[in-house]
């Protein structure tokens, strides 16, 4: 094991995959000279040159589409959005092009592309810069979506995403880049898509979550433990494909589920998870499935309002107690 930051883990994944496959290149705003707005691509320009580490104009729709075309022609682009909020400008290319070209062409044109960037709220960035769009991306058949919570998962999932032959949206936690964690020292650390990870074993209640909220859920579980409540934290890691077996296994054990996500409640990922649990594990349930999400409002700027709007350990603790 080696301790490294989430940022460095992503950097290592990019460097390793670019060294492994000459068709892999990184393109986005400020990724080359500036090393990325969050410094994820530090050193890559020097190592791989300006053909493979490419600064773009501010034109999300344009460079996302350039990535899709390059992927159709056989390259493996990694397209960085400075934040996922800006990817909204590029959604036509992600949804109408990347997600559909394999199907519309009857399998003739693959689209092995990774769209990545930070998702969710940081601190006081206000409404346009504080959005968690995972459910929007996971909605579209043809796309895969992953959401790493730790440095080890960040490295392993990004490597898996780059090698995958389908378009993968990798949503990073904006507040996680500086977080340190153990990353396996093995030569080729790949975390397969579609495999959840139980971040904490427990027997009383299942907290099902992903991304940054996995860490908040672990904080909640630690508080619950002090009160004698043993919560299990299931980190989904990938939203599509979804490790349904892991969810059902955990609910079968605890008979209670609380779902936590950073996005809005309406048509969120949690709505799908709750549906799966009620339809496929009805007899295991001793209580309704509860959801903890962002307030159903745009994110406010004011510090106090923002705190109230975000899902928190307190609210997770409260929800867990309600289902017990």
């Amino acid at each position: 094991m080696a301790e490294m930051t989430y940022r460095d883990a992503l950097n290592a994944a990019l460097a390793e995959e670019m060294a492994r496959d000459p068709n892999v290149f990184l393109m986005g705003e400020e990724v080359a000279l500036y090393s990325g707005a969050y410094k994820v691509s530090k050193g890559l320009l020097e190592k791989f040159g300006e053909t493979r580490v490419v600064d773009t104009p501010i034109a999300e729709l344009g460079f996302a589409g350039i990535g899709v075309g390059a992927a159709m022609a056989g390259l493996r682009p990694v397209i960085e959005f400075m934040t996922m909020n800006f990817s909204i400008l590029a959604m036509d290319q992600v949804f109408n092009s990347a997600a559909k070209v394999l199907y519309m062409s009857n399998g003739q044109f693959k689209c092995p592309i990774v769209f990545r960037g930070p998702t969710g709220a940081a601190l006081q960035l206000s409404a346009q810069h504080s959005q968690a769009l995972e459910s929007t991306y996971a909605h579209f058949p043809g796309l895969k979506v992953c959401t790493p919570a730790t440095p080890a998962d960040a490295k392993g999932l990004l490597k898996a995403a780059i090698r995958d032959d389908d378009p993968v949206v990798l949503m990073e936690g904006e507040l996680l880049y500086a977080m340190k964690g153990e990353v396996p020292d093995v030569e080729d650390h790949v975390v397969p898509l579609g495999v959840a990870d139980v971040k904490r074993e427990g027997s009383h209640v299942s907290i099902i979550t992903y991304g940054k909220m996995a860490l908040v859920s672990l904080q909640a579980a630690a508080r619950l433990a002090k009160e004698g409540i043993d919560a299990e934290v299931v980190d989904l890691r990938t939203l599509r494909p979804l490790d349904v077996e892991a969810i059902l296994r955990s609910v079968h054990k605890t008979n209670r589920a609380v779902y936590v996500e950073e996005g809005w409640p309406f048509i969120g990922i949690g709505a799908q998870i709750a549906d799966i649990i009620q339809s496929e594990a009805f007899d295991d349930l001793d209580a309704p499935v509860l959801r903890v999400t962002q307030a159903d409002t745009p994110m406010p700027y004011n510090k106090q309002l923002e705190k109230v709007a975000k899902p928190s350990a307190e609210r997770i603790v409260e929800a867990c107690k309600r289902v017990l």
Partner: protein
């Protein structure tokens, strides 16, 4: 279909040489090839319209009648390994790039033998074998992608090019401007061909753009541009050919405005005239029919005989009739194939589809 080497195409004097007359640098066979492609394109679209009218073809269906010279002239300037990407009025371009008429007609019929296996339809024709990359239905959506194909060409250091067709209305999309900027900035070998058929559905170009001259828009990006007569297959071939040669040599992109006219409605659901243009306007344009004009020129130059014309027309009709019979007889895709090609890699772990528990 005709795709002759670029070096054989231009710079040759139209003169007799040992009895073999030429026009625009092309010999009789090459000229006949262009005419044959145009005749096939015209008959193909007319048969498609008939099939649509009796419900054999569904969905939206946008015909190319009147615009044949644009796609056929432009694509004739390419090599087979060059790429073409287009929008949804692309049947004849797909044929010109070499996709067999059977496969294109079968796709319009939604059959398993179609070039997109019945999953795409009229607007989404693809052939990896022929480097024809669609067939896209969102106005302007293909422009960044075609730019990306050119990016891949440059990335690999190849001497191929990518042609990107669009209607004039697509020029107002942000995707157009973002793409032209990056293509010029990075010297990507893409040639944008704007088919200015005067109307974006029912909106006349002058009612949609503050600047009438489309080619002039390239100046904003320091990109070479040109006008081409979209009713003249040889002019299209010449103007596009020059841009292709330049792009192949040093990656310089280009914007070409091809002025043409759509003889049919925007799609099969629309009237040919009435709301946004008069019958007289359409008739006036039809008097400049690109196929009739090309035949007249060839005849005047003594490069085609009536007998040859008759035979060519009969062969074109026969090919299209055969394509239609093939489509009629072809099977639908299996219902069980519904979930095929949603994903290239169906991961071992996790659920990808949420309506099917076994997945």
């Amino acid at each position: 279909m005709v795709q002759t080497e670029t070096r054989a195409r231009r710079g040759e004097v139209d003169a007799s040489n040992g009895g073999s007359r030429r026009m625009a640098g092309l010999d009789r066979d090459a000229l006949h090839g262009l005419l044959r492609d145009m005749l096939i394109g015209r008959h193909f679209e007319e048969r498609a319209a008939e099939a649509y009218a009796i419900g054999k073809i569904g969905g939206f269906c946008h015909l190319y009648v009147g615009q044949e010279a644009v796609g056929i002239g432009a694509i004739s300037a390419l090599r087979p390994d060059d790429y073409v990407m287009s929008a949804y009025r692309e049947h004849v371009q797909a044929l010109a790039k070499g996709i067999p008429s059977r496969a294109v007609m079968a796709e319009l019929y939604g059959r398993a033998t179609g070039c997109s296996g019945g999953r795409g339809g009229s607007m989404h024709l693809y052939s990896a074998e022929h480097n024809f990359l669609g067939g896209w239905g969102i106005v302007g959506g293909q422009i960044p992608m075609a730019t990306g194909v050119a990016w891949a060409i440059r990335y690999r250091g190849e001497d191929r090019v990518c042609l990107c067709f669009m209607g004039e209305a697509a020029v107002n999309q942000g995707a157009f401007h973002e793409s032209l900027n990056m293509a010029a900035l990075w010297k990507l070998p893409v040639i944008y061909i704007v088919e200015n058929n005067r109307f974006g559905m029912g909106t006349a170009w002058e009612r949609a753009s503050s600047l009438e001259d489309i080619a002039a828009k390239a100046h904003a990006y320091g990109m070479p541009s040109a006008h081409a007569d979209g009713m003249d297959v040889l002019d299209m071939r010449k103007v596009v050919g020059e841009a292709v040669d330049r792009a192949r040599a040093d990656g310089t992109p280009a914007l070409i405005e091809a002025r043409c006219y759509r003889f049919m409605g925007h799609s099969m659901s629309d009237p040919v005239h009435g709301v946004y243009r008069t019958k007289e306007d359409v008739e006036e344009a039809k008097a400049r029919d690109p196929i009739v004009a090309f035949i007249d020129r060839l005849k005047q130059a003594g490069l085609v005989t009536d007998e040859e014309l008759e035979e060519m027309d009969q062969r074109a009709r026969a090919e299209v009739d055969d394509a239609r019979a093939f489509a009629e007889e072809s099977p639908d895709p299996h219902v069980a194939s519904l979930y095929e090609h949603v994903y290239a890699t169906e991961n071992v772990a996790g659920r990808l589809y949420f309506d099917r528990r076994e997945r």
